[in-house]
């Protein structure tokens, strides 16, 4: 198998105009790392989402946002004020030769500027435009102000998360934007497949609320089929089959994730873990039980609590790394509750060369990014380059590609178009 560095990307260098802010930037990034030529189109002064932390060395600066770096790597960047007449004309010229446009404005905004799907498809019938918004382009909630916490709540995810004696919670990291953006990349490529087989371009209208609703698994179906609601948030426990199980366990230096009788593979090796516990004088009455044939329905809450108490004492004596390494040896179903540090230090990710270093010449160093999520016999994920500085590729695109003169560029700059 040739080295990944020599393998081509999956996608051709399709031109993508990326008008998104933090709510949609992962979509273009996912396509860029597969080979697309993504050009981020920012307002003069830069995309407002450059002002979202964390920042490089904690220095708040639109050129140093790690959030922005992460979701805009491999893209080029130009500035353009599409609210001006000149800006709109230039954008149309760019759109004429583009393959895709991705945007995350409030529904109706681009239409008002004469840059909606209808306008642009008249200039370029092949164009695929993907719009990423909290609730989709039309409908009663489509104009709602809906940052992540609100969309997560409206999608039903917040309700089922948290502790029973406190309000429901969201993840402490924006997820509805990411879910919608990665799903949007799939919808965009489905539209592309259709176009390339003799179809035409089209508009892909993505809803973050619907994307998040996909992550609920049971909740809508529990209601529809059984009129059941998950009124209780079980915190670190899991309620199913009428009893609750501990899933998150404190250990010596943090937490591990484990469940008694974790389906068949877990049940089969329970005696091995109990063997380790017995050596430390714990779980002596758990020895010799035929866990492999025990069903959930045979376990009473009282039994579960007793066994969980024994297992819990054992976990408290060991670190998450020790417990995980033992689980790997015993083929037991147990995972550490990892922090970002643990993830970075994962031997599995290291063995698969997951982390990549991208140079940031203006910072005088390289930064470590999450890297390839697949290996292929034929193609490779593209490491590429760091996210663009504000207007970094203005000359490349406006002069070399559109043929604007230096004089025209300086006028546009003076008029704050670029």
């Amino acid at each position: 198998m040739p080295d990944d560095k020599e393998k081509p990307p999956m996608l051709d260098s399709y031109r993508i105009l990326d008008l998104t802010d933090d709510r949609g930037s992962l979509c273009g990034k996912v396509l860029a790392e597969l080979g697309a030529d993504v050009v981020k189109v920012e307002p003069p002064g830069g995309d407002p989402s450059r002002n979202i932390g964390p920042y490089y060395h904690d220095t708040p600066d639109p050129q140093k946002s790690l959030n922005w770096f992460a979701f805009n790597m491999n893209k080029r960047g130009i500035t353009l004020n599409i609210e001006t007449k000149d800006g709109q004309e230039i954008f149309k010229r760019l759109a004429k030769n583009a393959d895709f446009i991705i945007e995350s404005f409030t529904p109706g905004y681009l239409n008002r500027l004469g840059l909606g799907y209808k306008d642009l498809s008249e200039i370029n019938p092949r164009i695929i435009m993907t719009s990423i918004t909290p609730y989709g382009q039309t409908g009663p909630y489509s104009r709602f102000n809906s940052p992540d916490l609100i969309t997560m709540s409206m999608a039903g995810y917040v309700y089922i998360c948290g502790d029973s004696d406190r309000p429901p919670v969201r993840f402490s990291s924006d997820q509805s934007y990411m879910q919608a953006s990665i799903q949007a990349a799939g919808g965009t490529l489905i539209a592309h497949y259709y176009r390339e087989l003799g179809g035409e371009g089209q508009h892909v209208d993505v809803s973050m609320q619907e994307a998040m609703a996909w992550t609920l698994c049971y909740a809508p179906h529990d209601w529809y089929l059984l009129k059941a609601l998950h009124h209780t948030r079980e915190g670190s426990r899991w309620k199913r089959f009428g009893v609750t199980y501990r899933l998150i366990w404190p250990c010596k230096d943090g937490y591990v994730c484990y469940r008694l009788l974790m389906a068949q593979p877990g049940a089969n090796v329970m005696n091995e873990m109990i063997g380790s516990m017995n050596k430390e004088g714990l779980g002596l009455d758990m020895k010799g039980i035929d866990w492999g044939t025990m069903g959930f329905d045979q376990m009473s809450q009282e039994n579960i609590n007793h066994w969980e108490d024994q297992v819990g004492q054992y976990f408290l004596r060991h670190t998450k790394r020790e417990l995980h390494e033992e689980a790997v040896r015993q083929r037991n179903v147990l995972q550490p509750v990892n922090t970002s540090k643990d993830i970075y230090e994962s031997p599995q990710l290291a063995a698969r060369d997951f982390w990549v270093e991208l140079e940031h010449p203006e910072l005088g160093e390289s930064i470590t990014y999450p890297g390839p999520y697949f290996k292929s016999t034929e193609t490779a994920w593209q490491k590429g380059h760091r996210a663009p500085l504000i207007g970094e590729h203005n000359e490349e695109i406006y002069e070399k590609e559109l043929g604007l003169s230096k004089e025209e560029l300086s006028i546009l700059k003076r008029e704050k178009v670029i």
């Binding site: 080979g35 979701f71 489905i190 209208d205 698994c217 089929l225 994962s346």
Partner: protein
């Protein structure tokens, strides 16, 4: 006239099971691809036996989650451990574009159905294996489930309150990340094949895909050495930013205020009570410093209203607010989801009425929705053999008799 589907003509042989793989092939089917799901009586897809069941009655063709994830597919009951089962599979692969599998590493090889074998039959086949950790590496063979992988990938650590143990995301969150990356990879691999004529084998790791959705958190460590922690509903850039109690049992409203203009609007809706005039709350910075007191005061106000009332009042003046919706709200009440027909009610011969979700996007020219209800176990074995593979009656009967098909 029925509209042409985007993926019409695309052929998929689907060995995937449980949650992650089936969602991908459901999306392919919803866009018109022909998806043949290989199941076996020895080991049916485990989701068939997962609650909730129609009428609360367990059965292979009654699971709500299975029904949702497997609409638009054909189900074939085929014993892969029989040598002649392998032959039938190869006939299907010979006419296919995509093979998807989500068994543990090495399983397809033991069945004689790994990429090297399948490309002998179909040189430009695109085969994708999705697994927890990838096909190789020190942890590749440790058995794991999505419910635990979300801990490995940091999502459990990021959910809950900083003074307590993390909370468990009820549905395995990372199970709902990798599928969308798989869909992207498959569609991109099809583009590569269209341009070059070449297929490929893709080894996709759920762990690796999931890390990307927490990139800023991870990079705060790789760059700044900071380990971010869960913070309840707090957000350093907003105050208030929380979930507040409302009238009714377990009714909650989420409110998020990112700037002083939104704060002024919120105060106005609250009737500008005296406490809002305090210098403790006049700027985002001050509100952030006094967030605990602020949360209590807001919570005291929200208790008198239903979350729906608050959402309507606050959104009308541009303040971000939303109902913390339940399964009931989503399915029965949400006018936006109804407007977009997110949940499609379908009728299955045995299960009866059930819900199927549509992909979260509408394509303006081609359909994006379930083409037919989920298949009963082995419902299409005969159809696939006789209509698609042109198998004669005699051979079909013989394979049934030999236990290869059922």
């Amino acid at each position: 006239m029925k509209k042409r589907c985007a993926l019409e003509g695309l052929k998929v042989v689907d060995f995937s099971w449980i949650f992650t793989g089936p969602m991908v092939t459901k999306y392919l089917g919803d866009h018109g691809a022909e998806v043949i799901k290989i199941e076996s009586a020895v080991r049916p897809d485990g989701t068939r036996l997962m609650t909730p069941f129609a009428g609360g009655e367990m059965g292979l063709n009654r699971s709500g989650v299975y029904a949702n994830y497997n609409a638009s597919k054909y189900s074939m009951n085929l014993n892969l451990r029989e040598a002649r089962g392998e032959e039938v599979v190869k006939k299907l692969v010979k006419r296919a574009d995509i093979v998807l599998e989500t068994f543990g590493p090495g399983v397809m090889g033991r069945l004689g159905l790994d990429y090297d074998n399948l490309r002998q039959v179909k040189p430009d086949i695109i085969m994708l294996s999705m697994s927890m950790f990838g096909q190789y590496g020190p942890y590749a063979n440790q058995p794991t489930f999505g419910q635990l992988l979300q801990a490995t990938n940091g999502f459990v650590h990021l959910l809950g309150w900083p003074d307590r143990s993390p909370a468990l995301p009820v549905a395995a969150y990372t199970d709902y990340i990798a599928p969308w990356y798989v869909l992207v990879a498959l569609m991109a691999a099809l583009d590569y094949r269209r341009r070059t004529g070449k297929g490929q084998y893709v080894d996709l790791a759920m762990q690796e895909a999931s890390v990307h959705l927490a990139s800023p958190v991870v990079m705060d460590y790789t760059v700044n050495g900071r380990i971010q922690n869960r913070m309840g509903n707090r957000n350093p850039g907003a105050a208030p930013h929380g979930v507040y109690p409302c009238k009714g049992r377990e009714r909650w409203c989420a409110i998020a205020v990112f700037n002083d203009k939104e704060w002024q609007s919120l105060c106005k809706v609250m009737g500008n009570p005296e406490w809002t005039k305090s210098s403790k709350f006049d700027t985002l910075l001050h509100r952030t410093e006094n967030i605990e007191e602020l949360d209590k005061l807001i919570g005291a106000w929200t208790r008198s209203y239903t979350p729906e009332e608050l959402m309507v009042k606050l959104q009308a003046v541009g303040v971000a607010a939303g109902v913390v919706q339940t399964g009931e709200d989503l399915v029965d009440h949400d006018p936006q989801l109804r407007h977009r027909r997110h949940f499609v009610e379908m009728e299955h011969a045995e299960m009866g009425k059930h819900l199927t979700e549509r992909p979260p996007y509408r394509l303006s020219k081609t359909p994006s929705e379930p083409q037919r209800p989920f298949p009963s176990f082995g419902e299409h074995t005969e159809y696939v053999c006789k209509e698609i593979l042109d198998m004669g009656d005699e051979e079909f009967a013989e394979l049934i008799g030999a236990g290869v098909l059922a």
